[in-house]
C-alpha cells in the first residue's frame, strides 16, 4: 500500500481587513499633484510602501518566509524616472531557491482629465542570472511621464528562515507612508532591532494561526480516505507605521550613510519547536559568540595548527621578548599571505589551503594569525568587527559582523592586528576596520566589547626652510614626516606609485611649484615614520604689489578653502582617525626688504577639547619663524558640534592665508 501525503496550506485568522493603503486606488488629485507637499525639490516620492512578512507551511518545505510589498510611487520630475525601474535579487545557489515575483504593476497617467492605466507586460520584465548564486529580476514600468504614478507588488518567497528581510522606512526620496507587519509563529524567536533617527509606531498583538495538513490514504482502488490534521499555533503580529519620512541625503565626511537610514532588522535568535529543546542562535553576545565558535568554518579553523607548526618553529627560533615574537609572527603572516579582497569571519577554503596557496580571505588570514600567536604563547583571540561598508554593529547578532581581526591581551590592554594589509602594524589597522566597536571572543566563550577607534593623534610634522628672493620667488627645503595612520595612508597611496609621477602630482597640485632632489625614506620600514625630503622653488607664493611683498608663512601649503561648506549638518563628521599637523617654518627675508607687519600669534580651541590650533610667529633680524600645530582630537565629531567645527576651520583658513608684509628698505 502506498501512502501519499499532500500538504495543503490554509492561512486562517489572517483575513486582511480592508486596508487603507491598497493598490489600484489612484485618484485624479494624486495625478495632478505637481510637487511633493513637504519637499518641493523631490524628483519622486513613495506615496506608500506596505509590506507584510509571514510564514507559510508546507509539508515538503516546512516553514517558508513570504514577504509581500505593495509600492506606490509618484514621479514628479524626469530626474525621478529611475524610480520607475525596479530590480531585486534573490538567491538561487543553495539546495533550495528563493522565488521572486512582480505583479499588479501598473502605470497611471492623467490624459485629458481621465485616468489612463498601462499594465506592465512580459516585455517589461527581465531576469538576469548574475552568477551561480544570485539572480535578479528587473521591471521597467511602461509609459512613465512627469506626474505618473506607478504601482507594483513584489513577492519574495524564501526557504531560508534566517533570511528575514530588512525593512527600510527611509529612502533617498521622501516616503509619505511606510507600514510593515510581521507575523511570526511561536516556533521562531527573532531579535528585532531599529536603526536610524526616526521611530515608527509599533503595535503588537498575539494571534492564532494553524496548519492544516491532509493525509490521503488510498486502499486497493476501492476507497480513498482523507485525514485532516489541524495544528494550532500562536503567532505574534507586529505592526510598524512611519509617516512623512524625509529623504535621506548623503553628506561629505560621512562614514556610511546607511547607518542613519531608519530600518527594522530581524535576526533569528532561536527555534522553539514542540518536543524539541530550545535552539538558541543569538539573543545575547554570549550566544552569538558560541554560535560563531561552533561554526565549523570559524572555530575549527582557528584551532588548527599542524599546517604551520614546523615553519613557525623555525622562524621563532632565537626570538625571546614578547615584542619580538609578536613582530615575527605578524610580519610572517603579512609577508606570506595575500588578501583576495573578500571579507567575512568564516573561511572559504580553510586556513590550511589558504596557507599553502598564500592567498585567503580576511578570516583565513586573521584566524591563521591568531592561531600562530597563540602557538607562540600569546593570549590571542579573534575580534569580530563590522567594516565601514557594512555599517555599525549595533546589536548582538551574527550578521552584525562581516570581518575578523586578531587581538592580543597584553598588560591589561588589547593590541589589535590585521594582516590583510602589508602596511598594517599592531594597532594600526586598515581604515576599513575603524568602525566603532568590535567584539573579542575568548577561548572560554566569553566575549567583550573592544573599541576599534584610534585614540592617539597621528602626527604629520613638516619642517620648511625657505628663502625669498628679491624677485619674489621662494626656494627652500622641506622635510615632511608622517607617523602612525598618516604613514599608513601615505604608504597605501604612494608606495604603488612611481616616484616621478608622485612628484608630478605634487607639482600639479600647487601652481608654480618645482620639486627637485625628491627622496623618501622608510616606505617599507614600517617601524619608522615616513620621511620625505625635497628642494622646491615656487614662483607663485609671493605677491609683489607696489614696493611691498605679501605672502603667507605657509607659502603654497596654506589651506585656502574651508572643507565644511554646508550650512547645517545632520550626521556626525568622520575624520577616520584623530590627527595632529605641525609646521615648523623658517623664512629668510630678501636683502633690501624689511618686515613691515607680521600676523599676530593666535590660539583657538573647539569646545570640549575636540580640537585646537596654535599659531606662533616671531622674527629675528631677517628671519621669520612660525610654529603651528593643529589637533583634531577625535575621529568622529557629532553633528551638534558642526557650527563650532565649521567656525574653527574658518579661523584656520583665515589664519593660514594671512599675509606677512615686507617693505622695500
Amino acid at each position: 500500500m502506498k501512502k501519499y501525503l499532500i500538504a495543503l496550506l490554509v492561512l486562517s485568522g489572517l483575513c486582511l481587513k480592508a486596508q487603507t493603503k491598497e493598490l489600484g486606488k489612484v485618484t485624479i488629485e494624486e495625478l495632478k499633484q505637481k510637487t511633493h507637499p513637504n519637499d518641493s525639490s523631490a524628483a519622486a516620492a513613495v506615496l506608500f510602501e506596505v509590506g507584510r512578512t509571514s510564514f507559510e507551511y508546507s509539508q515538503t518545505n516546512g516553514f517558508e518566509i513570504v514577504t509581500e510589498v505593495l509600492t506606490k510611487i509618484k514621479i514628479y520630475k524626469k530626474e525621478g524616472y529611475e524610480y520607475a525601474n525596479k530590480s531585486a535579487s534573490y538567491y538561487i545557489g543553495g539546495s533550495a531557491s528563493e522565488k521572486l515575483e512582480f505583479s499588479k504593476a501598473i502605470t497611471y497617467n492623467l490624459m485629458n482629465g481621465k485616468i489612463e492605466k498601462t499594465k506592465l507586460g512580459s516585455d517589461g520584465e527581465f531576469i538576469e542570472k548574475v552568477n551561480k548564486n544570485w539572480a535578479r529580476k528587473k521591471i521597467s514600468m511602461p509609459n512613465v511621464k512627469e506626474g505618473s504614478i506607478i504601482e507594483y507588488k513584489m513577492t519574495l518567497r524564501s526557504p531560508y528562515i534566517t533570511n528575514f528581510p530588512d525593512w527600510q522606512f527611509q529612502r533617498d526620496i521622501p516616503v509619505s507612508y511606510s507600514e510593515y507587519t510581521t507575523y511570526v509563529p511561536e516556533y521562531y524567536v527573532y531579535n528585532v532591532r531599529n536603526k536610524g533617527f526616526l521611530s515608527p509606531v509599533v503595535k503588537k498583538e498575539n494571534t492564532q494561526n494553524s496548519i492544516t495538513s491532509t493525509s490521503k490514504e488510498r486502499g486497493w482502488g476501492v476507497t480513498t480516505k482523507f485525514d485532516q490534521n489541524v495544528t494550532n499555533y500562536k503567532e505574534l503580529k507586529t505592526n510598524y507605521v512611519l509617516t512623512d519620512v524625509p529623504a535621506l541625503k548623503d553628506e561629505s565626511y560621512v562614514n556610511n550613510i546607511n547607518n542613519y537610514k531608519t530600518t527594522v532588522i530581524h535576526e533569528l535568535a532561536g527555534e522553539r519547536f514542540p518536543n524539541r529543546a530550545y535552539e538558541n542562535y543569538a539573543t545575547d553576545w554570549e550566544t552569538v559568540v558560541k554560535k560563531i565558535y561552533e561554526n565549523e568554518d570559524f572555530g575549527n579553523e582557528l584551532n588548527k595548527t599542524g599546517y604551520f607548526e614546523k615553519d613557525l618553529d623555525a622562524i621563532l627560533k632565537g626570538s625571546t621578548s614578547l615584542e619580538e615574537k609578536m613582530a615575527v609572527v605578524f610580519n610572517y603572516v603579512k609577508a606570506r599571505m595575500n588578501w583576495n579582497e573578500y571579507y567575512g569571519y568564516t573561511c572559504d577554503n580553510g586556513v590550511r589551503k589558504a596557507y599553502q596557496e598564500k592567498t585567503g580571505n580576511a578570516a583565513e588570514i586573521n584566524l591563521m594569525l591568531t592561531a600562530m600567536l597563540r602557538y607562540a604563547g600569546f593570549e590571542a583571540n579573534p575580534v569580530l568587527i563590522s567594516t565601514r561598508s557594512n555599517g555599525i554593529a549595533l546589536f548582538p547578532s551574527r550578521t552584525a559582523f562581516n570581518y575578523v581581526i586578531a587581538g592580543i591581551e597584553l598588560n591589561n590592554r588589547v593590541v589589535l592586528l590585521d594582516a590583510t594589509d602589508k602596511n598594517a602594524l599592531p594597532d594600526i589597522l586598515p581604515t576599513r576596520d575603524l568602525n566603532w566597536l568590535g567584539r573579542i571572543i575568548r577561548k572560554n566563550n566569553s566575549s567583550a566589547e573592544i573599541d576599534l577607534m584610534p585614540k592617539s593623534n597621528s602626527k604629520e610634522v613638516m619642517y620648511i626652510m625657505a628663502n625669498v628672493s628679491p624677485e619674489g620667488n621662494v626656494s627652500g627645503k622641506i622635510r615632511d614626516q608622517y607617523f602612525d595612520y598618516n604613514a599608513f595612508v601615505f604608504r597605501g597611496v604612494n608606495n604603488k606609485v612611481a616616484k616621478d609621477s608622485y612628484v608630478e602630482k605634487l607639482e600639479k597640485r600647487h601652481q608654480g611649484l618645482e620639486i627637485t632632489d625628491y627622496a623618501v625614506q622608510n616606505n617599507n620600514d614600517l617601524s619608522k615614520p615616513i620621511q620625505e625630503e625635497y628642494s622646491f622653488t615656487s614662483n607663485n607664493s609671493v605677491e609683489i604689489i607696489g614696493d611691498k611683498m605679501y605672502f603667507s608663512p605657509f607659502l603654497y601649503l596654506a589651506m585656502t578653502e574651508n572643507p565644511f561648506k554646508q550650512e547645517t549638518r545632520e550626521y556626525p563628521v568622520d575624520f577616520v582617525y584623530p590627527h595632529q599637523d605641525k609646521f615648523v617654518v623658517s623664512i629668510t627675508v630678501p636683502e633690501g626688504y624689511a618686515i613691515e607687519t607680521l600676523p599676530q600669534s593666535k590660539s583657538i580651541g573647539m569646545p570640549d577639547e575636540l580640537g585646537n590650533f596654535r599659531y606662533n610667529i616671531s622674527s629675528n633680524g631677517n628671519q621669520i619663524q612660525l610654529l603651528y600645530t593643529i589637533d583634531i582630537n577625535q575621529a568622529i565629531i557629532s553633528s551638534e558640534y558642526y557650527e563650532s567645527l565649521k567656525g574653527f576651520y574658518k579661523e584656520v583658513v583665515d589664519k593660514q592665508t594671512e599675509k606677512i608684509v615686507l617693505k622695500k628698505a
Binding site: 521597467s140 551574527r398 574658518k650
Partner: protein
C-alpha cells in the same frame, strides 16, 4: 549580503575547487623564457607590466564563421600592473568560448599553477547602463601572491558575427611595454577582407606579411609610454589596424558592403526598414500636434518635444537588439527605449508627417572620436538623429528629455559620424562649435565692507557648449544648486547664496543665471589694511602639468570665450594703496586681457576677456601653452590693497 549560515556548510561541499597543481603546458613555453630576468631593461622603464608575447590568430572560415585563438603572456611587475591583466572572455548566443586556460609563472619562469575553465567565474556583464543585456563573461579572479609574476592566458572563441573582426594595435596601453606581439588574419579571398592602417610610423616598427589568404603584423620591443595631459586620444596617436569583410554576418543576418554607401544600405534594409510602423492612434496624435505648421524645422521641434515628454531612456540590449532598434510601435506602447529605439522612434514619427531624417551612428563621449571614414564596418557606440536643414544637418539627441531641440552638446559634437539613408550610408561631420559660439558673459558688482565681507550680485549668460555645461542647473534641487555654486565660486570662502534666479531659453539656447550672495572675510585684514582679489567671479586656475620632456602633441579639443565685467566698491573712507596692473597676452592658443581701472573715488572696474582656441599643437609648444595658462591663473588672482585714509 545577509544570508544563510544554516545552509552554508551544505553549499560549500558542492563547490569545493580542486586545483591540479602539477600540469603545465611545457610544450608552449619551451620556445619562450618567461623569467623576468630575460626582459630587457629598456622594457621595464616606466612599465607596470610587460607583454612578453601576444599572439592573436583570427581565422575566417566562412561568411558566418570565425575563430579567434589568442595566447597572451604578461609579466606584471607591480600592483599597478594588475589592471593590464585582462583575465576575461566574453560570450553570448553567437559567441562560444571553446577554450580558456591560464597559467601563472613565478619570477624565474617556473610554472606555479594552472587555472582551467571551471576555475573561471561565470557572470552576467551588467554594464551599468543597460537594464538588461544578455552578454556574459568568464573571468578569473586572481590574487597575486608575489610580484613580479607572469600570467599566460590562452583562449579560443568561435563566433558567427564576422562583422566584428577585432582591430589590432601593437600597443596595449599606457605604462605597458611589449616584447613581441602579432596578429594573423586568415580569410577566404572571396569574402574580400579590407583593412586600414592608421598612425603607422617609424617610431613603432611593424612587420607586415601578406599572402592571398592571410595577412599578419608583428611588432617587437615597444617601450612603455606615459599618458600626458592634453594628449590626443589613444586612437589618434598609436598605430591601429582596422578590418572589415565585404561579405559579413551579424547575428545571423548576411551583409555585403564595399563602401559606406553599400554598408548604409544594408544597415537600413536589414536593421531599420521593418521597424518604422507607427500605430494609427499615434499618427493621429502627431497630426493633431503639428496642426497647420508647415515649416519642417518647427514640425520637427514639435515632434522632438513630444518624444521628450513621452519617453525615457532605458537600455535593453538583447541579441540583435544590441544592433537593431526596438520596433517603433513598441516604443510607442512602452514609452521607453535605448538610444537606437528612441532615435528610430523619432525618425519614424517624422516620417509619418513627411519629414526625412536619418539614423546616425556615432562614437559618443566628451573625447571626440571619429567613425573611420574609409573602412565600412560596424563602428560606434551611440545613435543620434540627423535632420537635413538648409545649412546641413540638425542633430537630435533622442535619449535626453531635457536637451534643447537641435542642440547636441559635447557628447557628439565635432566628429565624423555615419548617416544611414534608405539609399545608402554617408560619412558626415557633426557640428563644430567655434570659440565664439561657446560664450559666457559675466556682469557683476560687489561691495567690500569694512570688516572684509563681500556683498555682491552677478549675472551670467552662457551659450554654445558653455550652455551645455550650465543648463542642467535648472533641474537641480535647491540645496544641490547651492552646493554647486559653492564649488563654482570655490575662491570665495564662507559664501552664502541669498538669491538665485535662472532662465533657460531652449530656442535661442541661452542660459541666464542671476545670483546674489555674501561672504565673510573675503578680504584679508592685516593691520587695518584689506587685501583681496579683484576678479572675484571668474578665476581660472587651470594650469596643465609640467613635463620635463614631452612625447606627444597636445590638443585643445574645444575653444571658448569668456567676457567679464565687474564693478567693485570699496568702503567709504578707504583708498587704494596698491592696485594690480592688468595683463594682456596674445598667443596661438588664444588671447587674454584683464584690466583694472579706477572709475570713481571708491569704485574700480575689472574687465576681463579670455579666448581659448581649439587646435592640435606640436609638443614643442606645450611649455608656451603652460606658461600662458600660468600667467592667466596668476593674473586672475591679482590682488588689491586698500587702506583707511
Amino acid at each position: 549580503m545577509k544570508l544563510i549560515l544554516l545552509k552554508r556548510s551544505l553549499m560549500k561541499k558542492s563547490f569545493t575547487i580542486v586545483f591540479l597543481g602539477s600540469v603545465f603546458f611545457t610544450a608552449h613555453s619551451q620556445t619562450m623564457d618567461l623569467a623576468v630576468s630575460a626582459i630587457p631593461d629598456s622594457l621595464k622603464l616606466n612599465a607596470n607590466s610587460v607583454v612578453r608575447l601576444s599572439q592573436l590568430n583570427v581565422t575566417i572560415l566562412s561568411q558566418g564563421s570565425m575563430t579567434l585563438k589568442s595566447k597572451k603572456a604578461i609579466t606584471v611587475l607591480n600592483e599597478l600592473g594588475l589592471r593590464d591583466l585582462d583575465l576575461m572572455e566574453y560570450y553570448d548566443k553567437n559567441r562560444r568560448i571553446a577554450k580558456i586556460e591560464a597559467t601563472v609563472y613565478d619570477a624565474s619562469g617556473k610554472g606555479m599553477k594552472t587555472f582551467r575553465r571551471k576555475d573561471f567565474n561565470d557572470m552576467s556583464v551588467a554594464d551599468g547602463v543597460s537594464i538588461f543585456n544578455d552578454n556574459r563573461a568568464l573571468f578569473l579572479d586572481y590574487t597575486p601572491i608575489t610580484y613580479p609574476f607572469t600570467m599566460v592566458l590562452e583562449t579560443e572563441t568561435e563566433t558567427s558575427n564576422t562583422a566584428f573582426i577585432p582591430a589590432w594595435s601593437p600597443v596595449d596601453g599606457y605604462l605597458v611595454s611589449t616584447e613581441k606581439t602579432s596578429l594573423t588574419v586568415n580569410f577566404k579571398p572571396e569574402l574580400h577582407l579590407r583593412l586600414k592602417e592608421v598612425n603607422f610610423s617609424a617610431k613603432y616598427p611593424i612587420e607586415k606579411t601578406e599572402t592571398p589568404t592571410s595577412v599578419s603584423y608583428t611588432a617587437k620591443n615597444i617601450i612603455a609610454r606615459k599618458r600626458e595631459e592634453l594628449s590626443p586620444i589613444f586612437m589618434d596617436i598609436f598605430p591601429i589596424v582596422y578590418f572589415s569583410l565585404e561579405n559579413f554576418q551579424l547575428e545571423n543576418v548576411n551583409g555585403m558592403a564595399v563602401n559606406w554607401k553599400d554598408f548604409g544600405k544594408w544597415y537600413y534594409d536589414s536593421l531599420l526598414a521593418d521597424t518604422e510602423e507607427i500605430p494609427l492612434v499615434a499618427q493621429e496624435k502627431i497630426k493633431q500636434l503639428v496642426g497647420n505648421e508647415k515649416d519642417p524645422k518647427e514640425i520637427a521641434r514639435i515632434i522632438y518635444r513630444f518624444v521628450q515628454e513621452k519617453t525615457r531612456y532605458v537600455s535593453v540590449q538583447v541579441g540583435i537588439g544590441g544592433w537593431k532598434p526596438m520596433l517603433a510601435k513598441d516604443v510607442d506602447k512602452l514609452g521607453y527605449g535605448d538610444c537606437k529605439a528612441l532615435t528610430n522612434y523619432t525618425r519614424s514619427l517624422l516620417k509619418t508627417v513627411g519629414i526625412p531624417s536619418y539614423y546616425t551612428v556615432v562614437w559618443s563621449g566628451n573625447e571626440t572620436r571619429d567613425i573611420q571614414n574609409d573602412i565600412a564596418s560596424m563602428q560606434g557606440d551611440h545613435v543620434i538623429l540627423a535632420i537635413p536643414d538648409k545649412s546641413g544637418y540638425l542633430w537630435l539627441e533622442c535619449t535626453s528629455q531635457t536637451q534643447p531641440f537641435g542642440f547636441q552638446g559635447d557628447f557628439t559634437d565635432d566628429r565624423n559620424v555615419l548617416i544611414i539613408k534608405p539609399e545608402g550610408g554617408e560619412i558626415v561631420r557633426t557640428r563644430t562649435f567655434a570659440e565664439s559660439d561657446n560664450l559666457k558673459i559675466i556682469k557683476g558688482s560687489y561691495a567690500i565692507l569694512e570688516n572684509g565681507s563681500l556683498d555682491g550680485k552677478v549675472k551670467m549668460v552662457s551659450k554654445g557648449l558653455q550652455y551645455d555645461s550650465e543648463f542642467g542647473k535648472e533641474r537641480l534641487a535647491k540645496e544641490e544648486l547651492v552646493k554647486r555654486y559653492k564649488e563654482e565660486f570655490g575662491n570665495i570662502n564662507n559664501l552664502t547664496v541669498n538669491k538665485i534666479s535662472l532662465q533657460n531659453d531652449p530656442v535661442t539656447i541661452e542660459f541666464t543665471e542671476n545670483l546674489e550672495f555674501k561672504a565673510e572675510s573675503y578680504a584679508q585684514n592685516s593691520n587695518g589694511k584689506l587685501m583681496f582679489a579683484l576678479n572675484a567671479f571668474n578665476q581660472n586656475s587651470y594650469v596643465p602639468k609640467k613635463y620635463k620632456t614631452r612625447e606627444f602633441p597636445f590638443e585643445i579639443q574645444r575653444g571658448y570665450t569668456n567676457e567679464d565685467e565687474t564693478e567693485i566698491t570699496i568702503p567709504e573712507g578707504f583708498s587704494v594703496e596698491a592696485k594690480p596692473n592688468g595683463m594682456e597676452l596674445s598667443t596661438e592658443f588664444g588671447n587674454y586681457k584683464i584690466e583694472f581701472s579706477v572709475t570713481g573715488p571708491s569704485t574700480i572696474l575689472c574687465k576681463r576677456k579670455l579666448v581659448i582656441k581649439k587646435g592640435l599643437f606640436d609638443k614643442n609648444n606645450y611649455e608656451n601653452y603652460r606658461k600662458f595658462r600660468e600667467t592667466i591663473a596668476r593674473s586672475d588672482n591679482s590682488k588689491i590693497i586698500i587702506a583707511k585714509k
